[in-house]
C-alpha cells in the first residue's frame, strides 16, 4: 500500500523511509475511498448526452432557480440580522445575554429534520399564532434562515470583540454620529468576516434538505428546491436526472469554497 502511494504521489516525502510514507498513504487512501470515489462515480453518472436535457427540463430548471434565489435572499437577510445580533451580543448588556449567546449555536446542534418540525409546530397548520406558512416559499425561506443563523453571527462576533473601541470614541469626539461611526469605522472592519459568514451560509442554503422537506410541501414550480427535487428523482428511479442536478449543486458549492479560500488568502496577504 505504502509503495503504491509513493509511486503515485511521485513527490519525495520528508523522510525517505517506507514507514514515513505510510501515514500520508493511509490518509490519502481513506479520503479517496470515502470522499473522492463517490463524487467521481456521481460525476461519471451525470456525464452523458442526457446531462443538458436533464438540467434544462422545466421542473429541474425551476428548482435550480428557486434554490439560487432562496439562497441569495437568505444570505442577504443573514448578513443584516447577523451583524445586528453580533453587535448586540458584543456591545450591549442585558440580563440573560449568556444564554442568548449560547442558544445561537442551537441550529448547528439540532438535527435538520427536527428544525423543520420545530418551525412547523409554530408556523404550521395548527399554529397558535394563526400563521400557516406550510407549502409556501416563505416556509422555505424560514427554514433556511433557521439553519443558517449562526454563520454570520459567529464570524463577526470575534472581530467585533477585538476591535479597538478608542478609535470609535475618537470618531465620536470629532463629531461623528453613531451611524457615521458604524458605517465608516466598524463596518469596514467587520465586512471581511461578514462576507466569509455569508459565503458559508450561501453554500449551506444551496444544499439544505432536511429542514425544508416537510415544511415546503414539495410542490413543483412553487416550493420545490433542488435538493428535494433530487431526492424525488431518486425515489422515482431517475438516477441520471438526479445526478445531473447534483453535479450543478456540487459545482456551485465548489465555486463558493474556491471564492472563500481565495478571499481569505488575499486578506491574509494584505494584513502582513
Amino acid at each position: 500500500m505504502a509503495e503504491a502511494t509513493l509511486a503515485r504521489g511521485g513527490r519525495p516525502v520528508a523522510a525517505p523511509r517506507l514507514t514515513a510514507a505510510l501515514g500520508p498513504g493511509a490518509a490519502m487512501l481513506y479520503l479517496s475511498v470515502m470522499v473522492a470515489l463517490p463524487i467521481a462515480a456521481l460525476a461519471s453518472k451525470a456525464a452523458s448526452d442526457r446531462f443538458w436535457p436533464a438540467i434544462t427540463s422545466p421542473q429541474a430548471e425551476s428548482a435550480l432557480w428557486l434554490t439560487f434565489l432562496m439562497a441569495v435572499a437568505t444570505t442577504v437577510i443573514d448578513v443584516v440580522t447577523g451583524v445586528l445580533i453580533a453587535w448586540v451580543l458584543v456591545r450591549d448588556d442585558f440580563p440573560g445575554k449568556g444564554v442568548v449567546n449560547a442558544v445561537i449555536d442551537l441550529p448547528f446542534a439540532l438535527p435538520t429534520i427536527v428544525a423543520g418540525l420545530v418551525l412547523m409546530s409554530l408556523y404550521g397548520p395548527k399554529s397558535p399564532l394563526h400563521i400557516n406558512v406550510v407549502q409556501s416559499r416563505t416556509a422555505v425561506l424560514l427554514a433556511l434562515l433557521f439553519v443558517t443563523l449562526p454563520f454570520v453571527v459567529r464570524a463577526v462576533q470575534p472581530v467585533l470583540l477585538a476591535l479597538d473601541r478608542d478609535v470609535e470614541a475618537a470618531a465620536s469626539c470629532l463629531g461623528a454620529g453613531p451611524w457615521q461611526t458604524f458605517r465608516r469605522l466598524t463596518l469596514p472592519a467587520i465586512l471581511p468576516a461578514a462576507l466569509t459568514g455569508a459565503g458559508l451560509a450561501f453554500a449551506r442554503a444551496l444544499g439544505e434538505f432536511g429542514s425544508i422537506v416537510l415544511i415546503s410541501g414539495n410542490i413543483p414550480f412553487k416550493t420545490q428546491v433542488a435538493s428535494v427535487f433530487i431526492s424525488g428523482q431518486v425515489e422515482s428511479g431517475d438516477t441520471h436526472g438526479a445526478a445531473a442536478v447534483s453535479v450543478v449543486l456540487l459545482l456551485a458549492a465548489l465555486a463558493v469554497l474556491g471564492l472563500l479560500s481565495l478571499a481569505s488568502r488575499r486578506m491574509r496577504t494584505r494584513h502582513v
Binding site: A27, M34, A109, P178, S227
Partner: protein, 263 residues
C-alpha cells in the same frame, strides 16, 4: 434609545425564529401528558431506531477521530504531500448538499455502480443496510475533528515535540505524551460536533437507507415517517428526544469552548 431599539429587534428576531419554535415543540410533545410520549418512545421501532442511531454514531465518530488526528498531525507538521488537495477533500462534505452525498454513495454502491456491481456479484450489500448508513454518516461528519485539531496544532508549533525527540522519545511516545494531551480539548470539541451531526443526519442517510422499519430506520428517519403518517405525538416525541440530545450537546459545546480558550 437607539441601542434599545437594536436590542429589541435582535432579540425579537431570535425569539420568533429560534426560541419560540423550540419552546413550542416541547409544548406540542407534552400536550397530552407524559404517557403517550413514553409509549411513542418505547415501541419496538422507536427502540430499534435509538439503537441504530447510536450504533452508527459509535462507528462513524471513531473513524473520524483516527482519520482527523492522524491526517491533522500530518497536515500541520507539513509531512503531507498534496496538502491543498487534502484540504479540498476534507472541506467538501461541509459544502455539499447531504442529498448529493447520499446520491454519490447510491451511485457508487448501487447494483450498476463501480463497487456495487462487484458487491452484487459476491452477494454483499451496502445500500439499504448498516454499512451504507455508516458510510453516509462518516462522510457528512468527516470534517469536524480535523478542522478543530489542525489550527491548534499549527498554533502550538513543534517546539515541545522536538524537545521530546531530543530527550530520546520515539515518535509514538511523543505523540501520546506531548501531542495528544495538548490537543485534547480541541479533539473533544470536534468529537462532540461530529457526534451531533452523526446522530442527527437525515439527508444523506435518507437516500442510502431505504428506510426499512426495524432495520435501517434511524431516529431522524423515524421522525419523518411518523410525521407523514399523521402520528403527530409520535413525531413530536421523537423530535423532542433529538432536541433534548442537541441541548445537551449545546451545553457541552459552551463549556468546552470556554475550556478550549483557557486551557
Amino acid at each position: 434609545m437607539s441601542k434599545q431599539l437594536l436590542r429589541f429587534t435582535a432579540l425579537g428576531y431570535l425569539t420568533l425564529l429560534l426560541l419560540a419554535p423550540v419552546g413550542m415543540i416541547a409544548y406540542r410533545t407534552f400536550a397530552h401528558g407524559l404517557s403517550p410520549v413514553w409509549h411513542a418512545l418505547t415501541t419496538p421501532s422507536a427502540l430499534h431506531a435509538v439503537y441504530l442511531s447510536l450504533a452508527v454514531t459509535a462507528i462513524a465518530v471513531p473513524l473520524n477521530i483516527v482519520f482527523g488526528v492522524g491526517t491533522g498531525v500530518l497536515l500541520a507538521r507539513r509531512r503531507m504531500p498534496a496538502g491543498g488537495l487534502v484540504n479540498l477533500l476534507v472541506n467538501l462534505p461541509f459544502a455539499m448538499s447531504p442529498v448529493v452525498i447520499g446520491l454519490a454513495l447510491f451511485v457508487l454502491y448501487g447494483r450498476t455502480g463501480w463497487i456495487g456491481s462487484w458487491l452484487a456479484a459476491h452477494s454483499l450489500q451496502v445500500l439499504f443496510s448498516f454499512p451504507g448508513l455508516v458510510l453516509a454518516t462518516a462522510f457528512v461528519s468527516l470534517p469536524f475533528v480535523i478542522r478543530e485539531v489542525v489550527p491548534v496544532l499549527e498554533e502550538l508549533g513543534d517546539d515541545q515535540e522536538q524537545a521530546a525527540a531530543t530527550l530520546g522519545a520515539n515518535s509514538r511516545q511523543t505523540f501520546w505524551r506531548i501531542t495528544l494531551p495538548s490537543i485534547r480539548w480541541a479533539l473533544v470539541y470536534g468529537v462532540v460536533l461530529s457526534a451531533a451531526r452523526a446522530l442527527g443526519e437525515y439527508g444523506a442517510v435518507s437516500i442510502v437507507s431505504g428506510n426499512i422499519v426495524g432495520q435501517t430506520q434511524t431516529l431522524p428517519l423515524l421522525v419523518e415517517e411518523r410525521f407523514r403518517d399523521f402520528d403527530s405525538t409520535g413525531a413530536y416525541s421523537t423530535g423532542f428526544l433529538l432536541a433534548l440530545i442537541s441541548l445537551l450537546i449545546l451545553a457541552a459545546m459552551t463549556l468546552l469552548s470556554r475550556r478550549k480558550e483557557h486551557p
